[in-house]
C-alpha cells in the first residue's frame, strides 16, 4: 500500500506545479518570513518606520534639486520623480533581496525541505509592505505639488500586482543563474544602475528624441511597468486598455518564464550550495 507514503519520488508531478502546491501549504511560513523582515527592520533603529518614509523622499529631493533646472517644464516634477522612483525602488530592492536570499541565504534550504520559492515570495511581500508605507509621503508630495488625487488611485493594486509579478520573475531568473555563477549577481547590480537611467524615472519621456522613442521604450519592459504605476498617481488617469495589456504581457511573461526556469533548476541547487 504505497499510497500511504506522504512522499514518493516516483510520483512527483511537474516541479513547477508541486512548487505552487508547496507554497500554498507553507503560506504560514511566508507570513512569518515577511513579518520577520518587517519587524526586524523597524526594531533595529530608533527611527524605525521613519527610514522607510525618508529614504525615497531623500532620493527625490536630491534628484529634483540636481535636475530641476533641466526639466522645469514638468509640472510637479518632484512628484513625477517620486512616483517612478517608488516603482523602481521596489523592483531593485526585491530582486536584490531575492538573489541574496537564494544565493547566499541557502543555509536553511540546505538543512530542511521548504518550497524553494518561499524566500523569493516573502521578499515580494516585504517589498509590498514597504511600498504601501511609502505611499504616505507620496500622497503628501502630490498634494503639495498641487496635483489632485483622483479616483484613479483605485487602480494602484493592479499596478502593484504587475510590478510584483515582473520583479518575482526577474528575481527568479537571475538567482537561478547566480546559484551556479555567483558573479552573475555582481553583474546584475551594475546592469541595474544602467537600467534605471535608461528608464524615464528622473527625466521626462519627451527627452528622448521622437525618432528613437519607439524602440527605446518598447525594448524596456520596466518602461511599461513604471508607466502603469505612474499613470494613476501622477497623471491621475486610469490606464487605457492598450497600456494595461502591454504591461500585463511584459510582467506575466517573465513571471512564467522565471517560475518554470527556477523550478526546473531548483533540484540542482543543493549540489552547488
Amino acid at each position: 500500500m504505497s499510497e500511504e507514503f506522504i512522499y514518493d519520488s516516483d510520483k512527483r508531478g511537474p516541479v513547477s506545479i508541486e512548487e505552487l502546491r508547496g507554497i500554498f501549504q507553507y503560506r504560514d511560513l511566508i507570513y512569518q518570513l515577511v513579518r520577520r523582515d518587517v519587524v526586524s527592520r523597524y526594531k533595529r533603529s530608533v527611527l524605525g518606520i521613519v527610514w522607510t518614509l525618508l529614504q525615497p523622499l531623500g532620493m527625490m529631493f536630491i534628484l529634483s534639486m540636481v535636475f530641476a533646472n533641466l526639466f522645469h517644464s514638468v509640472k510637479g516634477y518632484p512628484a513625477y520623480i517620486l512616483s517612478g522612483l517608488l516603482a523602481w525602488t521596489f523592483f531593485a530592492q526585491t530582486t536584490g533581496a531575492i538573489i541574496h536570499q537564494i544565493v547566499w541565504g541557502g543555509a536553511l534550504l540546505r538543512q530542511i525541505y521548504l518550497p524553494r520559492t518561499s524566500f523569493a515570495i516573502s521578499a515580494i511581500g516585504t517589498g509590498l509592505v514597504n511600498l504601501t508605507i511609502s505611499f504616505v509621503p507620496l500622497f503628501i508630495i502630490l498634494l503639495s505639488s498641487g496635483l489632485p488625487i483622483n479616483s484613479s488611485v483605485l487602480f494602484l493594486p493592479i499596478s502593484m500586482v504587475l510590478l510584483s509579478a515582473f520583479s518575482l520573475g526577474i528575481g527568479l531568473i537571475i538567482s537561478t543563474l547566480a546559484v551556479r555563477f555567483p558573479d552573475i549577481a555582481e553583474m546584475y547590480h551594475i546592469i541595474l544602475t544602467a537600467w534605471m537611467y535608461l528608464t524615464p524615472i528622473v527625466y521626462p519621456e519627451k527627452l528622448i528624441p521622437e525618432s528613437y522613442r519607439f524602440w527605446f521604450f518598447n525594448l524596456n519592459p520596466m518602461y511599461h511597468i513604471v508607466k502603469i504605476f505612474r499613470m494613476p498617481l501622477f497623471e491621475g488617469v486610469f490606464p487605457d486598455l492598450r497600456t494595461l495589456i502591454i504591461a500585463m504581457v511584459v510582467s506575466l511573461v517573465p513571471l512564467i518564464v522565471g517560475w518554470l526556469f527556477y523550478s526546473k533548476r531548483a533540484d540542482e541547487f543543493a549540489y552547488y550550495w
Partner: protein, 250 residues
C-alpha cells in the same frame, strides 16, 4: 513476509552523483572562457552509490561511518533537501531535521516570535504552534525571557529553545546530525529522556553520530556507510562491531 506499512523510509537504489568540473569554476567569466577554449572536463564522484535501506516506523536508527562516508548526504536525501540523481525515495510522515541550533532564528525577534518562525519552517500551521506554545516555554525553562529578544539570550538558552521548538511537536521522523551535545548536562539528560519517549511513541529517529556510546544506548538498528556504500545494516551492536573491526585493520 514483511508488512510494507511498517516502513517509515524506503530507499531503493539511491545514488547521488556530483558532476564537477575537473578544476573548480566559480565564475561565469571563467566558465565562458573555458567553454570557448573547449577546456571543460567533468569529474564524477558518487556521494552515495546504490543505497538500499528500509527504516521501520518507530525505531531509532543510527548511521555510522567515517568522515565523508555520505552520512550527511543520506540525511539530506531523506529530508528532501537533495534530490538524488538516481533511485526511488519513499517517505512516510513529516520529516523534521533537528536544525543546526539557531538556524532560522533571528536575533531581533523575541523567543516566542522565533518559535513561531521556527515552527512554520518545520511546516506546522500557525494554530498548532499556538496550542503548543506553553509546552515549549516550559521545556526550554525560559520563563518570562521568552518575550525578550533572542540576542539577549545566552548560547545555552537559545540552544534549549532550539531543541524545545524542534521536538515539542512529536515529529513523525526526526533527523539528528550529531547535535545531542546541547546545553548543560542536566538539559542533555532531559533531551535523552525525550528521545526515549519518542521511541515509545510513533516517532522514527535517525541519528548520525561519532559517539558510539550514544549510538549504542539509543539505537536498535544501525547502518554503516563507507564511501557512499552501505557496508552493513542490522542490530546496532553487530554493525558497530564490524565497523570497529574494519577501523582496526586500517
Amino acid at each position: 513476509m514483511e508488512n510494507q506499512n511498517t516502513d517509515a523510509i524506503r530507499l531503493e537504489d539511491v545514488s547521488v552523483g556530483y558532476r564537477r568540473p575537473g578544476e573548480p569554476i566559480h565564475t561565469f567569466k571563467e566558465y565562458a572562457i573555458r567553454l570557448i577554449q573547449g577546456k571543460i572536463q567533468y569529474k564524477e564522484f558518487n556521494a552515495l552509490s546504490n543505497v538500499n535501506l528500509k527504516i521501520h516506523k518507530g525505531e531509532t536508527f543510527a548511521i555510522v561511518g567515517n568522515n565523508g562516508a555520505g552520512k550527511s548526504t543520506l540525511l539530506k536525501v531523506i529530508s528532501r533537501v537533495l534530490i538524488p540523481t538516481q533511485g526511488r525515495v519513499q517517505i512516510n510522515g513529516k520529516v523534521t531535521p533537528l536544525l543546526q541550533l539557531g538556524a532560522g532564528f533571528h536575533p531581533e525577534l523575541s523567543g516566542r516570535e522565533n518559535v513561531f518562525l521556527n515552527g512554520t519552517i518545520l511546516g506546522h500551521p500557525r494554530r498548532e504552534i499556538e496550542e503548543h506554545m506553553e509546552e515549549v516555554i516550559e521545556f526550554s525553562e525560559l520563563g518570562e525571557f521568552i518575550d525578550a529578544p533572542l540576542r539577549t539570550y545566552s548560547s545555552g538558552m537559545s540552544a534549549r529553545l532550539g531543541f524545545a521548538a524542534a521536538t515539542t511537536w512529536e515529529p513523525d521522523i526526526l533527523l539528528l546530525d550529531e547535535v545531542l551535545s546541547v546545553g548543560d548536562e542536566a538539559f542533555q539528560k532531559k533531551c535523552h529522556v525525550r528521545m526515549q519517549n519518542f521511541r515509545k511513541e510513533r516517532t522514527t529517529s535517525i541519528l548520525v553520530s561519532h559517539v558510539m556510546k550514544t549510538v549504542l544506548s539509543l539505537c536498535e538498528r544501525a547502518a554503516w556507510l563507507d564511501h557512499g556504500i552501505v557496508r552493513a545494516v542490522g542490530k546496532t551492536e553487530e554493525v558497530i562491531a564490524e565497523y570497529r573491526k574494519a577501523q582496526k585493520k586500517v
